[in-house]
Symmetry: C2
Subunit: 141 residues, 2 copies
């Protein structure tokens, strides 16, 4: 990949593939989702259904917003609510065959973009870090 031109690189070449991506299931209680996020250290991760199809994304901001009451953080809500109730269902996505340049465009506004096939099965994520690393390499050639 190092020696490929940016115009020859596909999303699949530089994405983090699904088995290495931390995720949660849409049925998990928020408490579980928040634990996954805090322990993995990631601010947001993909949400999958039981057949590993991509259904949304969820992050610390969304969860904390949900439990922020008038006077305090209402921590009990974490066990009352589920991921599907508050996840972001509008997930911008790419396919493995898409071009590096499509990835560059999308990561302008999203720290990571989910990669899925036409049926919606989750393939991985394309991160800003992967894009920036490749661009940095490209400049020194």
């Amino acid at each position: 990949i190092q020696d490929k031109q940016l115009t020859d690189i596909t999303v699949e070449d530089i994405m983090i593939s699904s088995e290495k991506v931390a995720h949660v299931q849409l049925n998990n209680p928020l408490e579980h989702a928040l634990l996954v996020l805090v322990k993995s250290g990631y601010s947001a991760v993909p949400v999958l259904d039981t057949s590993y199809k991509l259904v949304g994304t969820i992050g610390k901001t969304m969860i904390l917003n949900e439990i922020l009451g008038i006077e305090r953080f209402e921590i009990e809500k974490l066990s009352e609510k589920r991921v599907y109730e508050i996840m972001d269902k509008e997930v911008p996505r790419l396919s493995k065959e898409d071009q590096f340049m499509d990835g560059l465009k999308m990561t302008i506004n999203y720290p990571f973009v989910c990669v899925a096939d036409e049926k919606g099965y989750f393939d991985g994520i394309l991160t800003r870090r992967a894009i920036l690393k490749q661009i940095n390499r490209d400049y020194y050639q």
Copy 2:
């Protein structure tokens, strides 16, 4: 800036200047810091001292890690602890006069890089979004 070559662009040209950057003070209780983070929507922000010098960064992950006890999130700790006790003091930084390419290098590993002068006064932040936007423009010229 649109028509400048990437090699002519400085950090100052594309950074978000200090007055537009959400931040917290090192003496704030964690509760205040978490509220600033949740309301602004940002996952991490700079920490300044009372003379507006850059002293660190703090994020939701660090705060949540701090209050995650064995059995539950110990929400009372938010009012007991202060920002300076848990902030990240190792802040990679750039100066306004630095080159675009220095910014590109640093944002490979950091979503944002703080900009400060030689005395440590906070000037602004350089974000991955600013870098990616500029690169995207550069490719279409």
